[in-house]
Symmetry: C2
Subunit: 700 residues, 2 copies
């Protein structure tokens, strides 16, 4: 897909501000003030004013004689439509519509928004918004963001492209960035996304050499799989962070009431993000912290963390958080080498601890700190370093900031800083930022930032094997599924026998069994199938619910009792058939496989711990279907039950065979769920020498 050229939106030579004003408190006044700092030519437009700060004001956008690259419409919703139309007539390529009061407010506003889309369809003008917070590009001195957002760190520019659907989240993220730093390459408020969406900006900044990291806040995702594929492509080169509000079912319903559409199920979102190399944040603080570290630091090449601290307590807390379970990335405390320990011992007080966390004690000075840090940098057993810094001890002074900064720049390992200093914490964080150091004011936050760097390192490693996962066309399989569907006794309602037929088509290990429709000749069927006893005998009919309770299931039936059991069952449920299969003995663990059509992302596949505990432990992983072997393997490895597949406590389950099954299942899932159907295999178990599906359900 072509990338839209956004040059005239993000680096305009000329800007018209429709609704320019000089009255205090007006949005048009604030934007005007900001625009005057830009190097672009600015045309204020307002029929009621002649001059703003000695600049002549145009009555109408059509009165402007020169070309205009960008128009900003700072009028009410109702008045915005005709203004945008005039911009289109003049051939202005980009218009930012600031006003809210469109689709997000109901039918009336929705109709107004429809008119905006109609103007876009004329082909001359692209719209950012409505309900957009605007754009901010420090390098180009362009700032149309009309809310106070501070400028301590922001004005310097930086390498994070921040794309926010929500105005308030955008503003507060700008605030966080300003307070203690992270540099913005650009900020874009997408608002209602009636035309331009996050996808346009992901494409743009993904290819922009001055952007090191994308941070995206979305409530609804436009373009679903396109969004994922684009993020995946970008994430091969640079980190892509997404804060997707609506991560749990209740959250999703809240997102629905906010954006007018339902968000997808959260677990599918998690799985899809993992699959496509997207790193997920859960609130704006986490998003900004992650952007800070990922834009300033190299990814971690491993997960072994070393901590150096002049305050033992914080070292211990740090260790605690590092050891905590976390789904993002596992961290471990690095084992320091003997050489490292002697280097540290040689340069510190004799009561310092040279084990990790390296506790220099409150008597440490700058030199002891940096010498220890150097030893950790040189230790091959350390992948990532957290420096706990304090400036209260008289022996440590601000010079340490520069010293750490120099090491951050020169080291191939990421080095993170935690600092707290009473009322001066923010000031110190900003000083660190100005030396190129990512600093954090709490232990939980600095360790979380480390996890993002480890997660990023893992994404980069995976990328080698990760294909652009365009749905593989399994035409042959799809054709067979169609034939199968048309053969069903009750259209759309496969019974258990038919479902196992579907699995055989897909190459899945359905249980060996025979279908008995008449009592008369069934024993020869069993004989022909070489099916040894004991047997499981089940009634088969798509309309019979609660088979077990109704006496439609007999287990452990001996060869001698088979005749009688089958006959009794056929007589009890006239018009139905009976499935005979041999009893499977298995010890150990049940797995579940599932497929559904996710509201947001479409066909998805699930794998996890099966049986009665599935819903209690929720030990499952999702990915979009179909998925290839590496993705399927990743799903299984993500489970807490994963060690069972790796010989845990003597288990002998064949992991690669289950990976193959999952891949095949995902191809079937892509077809069945793609048509709105659902599949549930629960359980699939390991029996002696192979995986076997014991129970399953298909809904088309």
């Amino acid at each position: 897909m072509n990338t839209l050229n956004l040059e005239k939106l993000l680096n305009p030579s000329s800007i018209a501000l429709i609704g320019a004003s000089d009255k205090s408190g007006k949005v048009g006044t604030t934007i005007m003030k900001y625009l005057l700092k830009s190097t672009a030519r600015v045309y204020p437009v307002n029929p009621k004013i002649d001059y703003i700060m000695h600049i002549p004001v145009y009555k109408d956008v059509s009165d402007i004689s020169g070309d205009v690259d960008l128009a900003i419409v700072a009028l009410s919703a109702a008045n915005s439509v005709s203004a945008v139309s005039a911009c289109s007539d003049k051939g202005i390529p980009f218009v930012i519509v600031v006003a809210g009061g469109f689709g997000e407010t109901g039918a009336e506003g929705g109709a107004l928004e429809g008119k905006l889309r109609e103007i876009v369809s004329r082909g001359k003008t692209r719209i950012l918004g409505p309900n957009s917070l605007g754009v901010f590009v420090p390098e180009n001195d362009l700032d149309t963001v009309f809310v106070e957002h501070g400028d301590k760190a922001l004005a310097q520019g930086g390498s994070v492209a921040f794309i926010s659907q929500s105005g308030s989240v955008g503003v507060e993220s700008l605030g966080l960035a300003s307070n203690t730093g992270f540099g913005m390459r650009a900020f874009v408020g997408t608002g209602n996304k009636t035309d331009l969406t996050e996808l346009d900006f992901i494409r743009h900044f993904g290819r922009d050499d001055k952007t090191d990291c994308l941070a995206i806040y979305v409530e609804s995702v436009e373009g679903e799989r396109d969004f994922l594929l684009e993020c995946s492509e970008v994430s091969a080169k640079k980190p892509v962070l997404v804060l997707k509000a609506g991560r749990t079912p209740a959250g999703a319903s809240a997102a629905g009431s906010h954006t007018g559409r339902l968000a997808g199920s959260d677990r599918v979102v998690n799985g899809a993000f993992k699959q496509y190399g997207i790193q997920r944040a859960f609130d704006d603080e986490e998003l900004c912290d992650a952007a800070l570290s990922l834009s300033m630091l190299k990814p971690a090449s491993g997960n072994r963390v070393a901590v150096v601290t002049p305050a033992g307590g914080f070292g211990v807390m740090c260790t605690d958080y590092i050891d905590s379970q976390d789904s993002r990335a596992k961290l471990i405390m690095a084992e320091l080498s003997g050489e490292t320990k002697s280097r540290i011992a040689g340069n510190t007080l004799n009561f310092a601890s040279t084990n990790n966390p390296v506790d220099l004690t409150a008597s440490a000075d700058n030199g002891m700190f940096t010498n220890s840090l150097d030893a950790l940098i040189d230790d091959d057993g350390v992948d990532i370093i957290i420096c706990v810094t304090f400036f209260a001890p008289p022996t440590i002074d601000d010079g340490l900031i520069k010293e750490i900064g120099r090491r951050v720049r020169n080291s191939s390992k990421p080095i993170l800083v935690f600092t707290e200093y009473g009322p001066f914490t923010d000031e110190y964080l900003l000083s660190f930022y100005n030396e190129g150091v990512a600093g954090f004011p709490s232990i939980s936050r600095v360790v979380r930032a480390a996890r993002f760097l480890v997660e990023r390192g893992e994404i980069i490693k995976r990328k080698g094997g990760m294909k652009k996962d365009t749905p593989v066309e399994h035409r042959e399989l799809a054709g067979m599924v169609e034939t199968w569907k048309s053969s069903l006794k009750v259209p759309g309602k496969p019974d258990e026998w038919e479902t196992s037929g579907l699995f055989r088509i897909a190459g899945l290990p359905a249980q060996k069994s025979v279908l008995v429709e008449h009592e008369d000749y069934f024993l020869s069927l069993v004989e022909n199938a070489s099916l040894p006893g004991p047997y499981a005998v089940k009634i088969c009919g798509s309309e019979i619910l609660h088979k077990t309770e109704l006496g439609g299931v007999a287990l452990n039936v001996g060869e001698g009792e088979l005749s009688e059991t089958v006959g009794m069952m056929l007589r009890k449920f006239p018009g139905n058939s009976v499935i005979i299969s041999n009893m499977i003995t298995y010890s150990g663990t049940e797995f579940i496989l599932g497929a559904l059509n996710d509201f947001t992302f479409g066909p998805s596949v699930m794998a996890g711990a099966g049986g009665i505990l599935t819903e209690l432990y929720k030990d499952v992983a999702f990915r979009l279907a179909p998925c290839e072997h590496e993705v399927a393997r990743g799903m299984l490895e993500e489970l807490r039950i994963a060690p069972i597949l790796e010989g845990y406590r003597g288990s002998s389950l064949d992991k690669e065979a289950l990976v193959e099954i999952l891949v095949r299942f995902s191809r079937l899932a892509a077809i069945i769920a793609g048509q709105g159907g659902q599949l549930d295999i629960n359980p699939i178990v390991w029996s002696d020498d192979g995986w076997i599906i014991l129970d399953a359900k298909a809904v088309l």
Copy 2:
């Protein structure tokens, strides 16, 4: 136990500062400056100076003619000892020793610290420290904390008593409190705790009417069970928060290297804290956030949360965090009543959402916000309210702060505030604080604070039934265990048969079985025991490891095969016996019970999901032993597998019977683990009509 009278330490009429100075950068100078703000009479002591700011300086503490309530020794470690000795000679009741360089630095420092203890033993002087950050009591204008800690919110005083073992954690907590507020009733730095410990201060502030909340940072706990019992008693009246560094095994080893002693296993700490009504924090930010909310707000009477927001995105994030799984306390989004919804609808814009989260949209004004808040306060279905506040929208102004403050003071429900405002966030948080409102700058933090309030509400409810859990003396049981121990074939090494005998003594459901020592007459034993087949036959001997691998276990042995199997086994393992029990059929879930002697807290008991998955899911709960029914029930209810005991998916396991077993097991645990032993029952299962222990191991 008597509470030590700390009046002269915390509210002294006269203070001697030994090591007083006027040289900039000296600790003795900083403390002198602070002391001069106090109303106490101050005696500077320093043989080398005559005057400090026109105040005459004493050569020696013995030169002071009047009584001295408190001495602060701001000298080096080496010089501190003789100074403290002089204080003791003069009869000064309390001395704060500021210097580090004692026990925490090794043997030499340890010897110095021993001398301090020797002075204490003379009975005239109590010591706070050494390595103490000092004390700070705003109401008494007493501040001996010699490090910059800000005073924006601190100087006003408040109701949190903060007790910190570590200087740096203490300082940074003071900083956090100062920046955005929480009021300190007092701060105490306990340092090395060579004499006074946290226990003395917990007792004091637990009984102090002006203290609403205790926040405690400890690395090692002194007095173990006394600490828990005291906290439990205090927590019946006011919240007790503890940050205990060393929460995971690796963390504990780090704590060991820092404090010279190993911390207890983290899961035991968690369980013990729950059992004794202590709320746990994991870093200083969390501790301060919890102290802020618990000291300013009523506990929540339930867990139903309502959110009101002018920014939909933050409402959704809030919902997400509320729905997230968290071990502290489960929160749910409140269902608003019809009346509430109409009240909100009647006072807001027509496109606002009246569902929870109540999204007022960015066009909301102060009135809409407060009217909606009032409706939520009046809704009986709401237990706790989170206000998302923003001051960027032109329709909302600072007046909202006072309006919310008034409602916080008048409402019986806790109301929390989230606010972000770019560079002004801290300022706004402080404004909220000054109106009596607990505010937080991130969604995750405000929701976490809500969990602390819900957890506190649950502790208060539980208190009714919670006895002061002094170890019940089960003398009779202890006597029987002694007899049992002395009867063991191999002293200290019970075999399986002997272990099941121990369980029978304790009233636990050991499996029905017979012990066969000779082949000759065993069938009559089986007959006499009315033991029906099929059987499990196991070799029994405390020295045989890996029974199964050696062929020492036969399962599903039919009645006809019993003779042969038993004979074969006795011949294969000469000198050992055989246990015959009937095969237990059970479907469903295995539980594990365990007992160990925790390094910190002593005899502890564990319950959880058993079987092969125990270590993968780590779905276990700990408490100290013995525990009574309510505590045991709480342990089981804490498990993720708990619904299995409540009829989940048709299960019919008897929960109360398992509670009874756990209580009995805990009494046995108190005895066995109290003597350093360990017990492991894995699994115990539900079989038809009772719980039964299938396998167990005892180590004495």
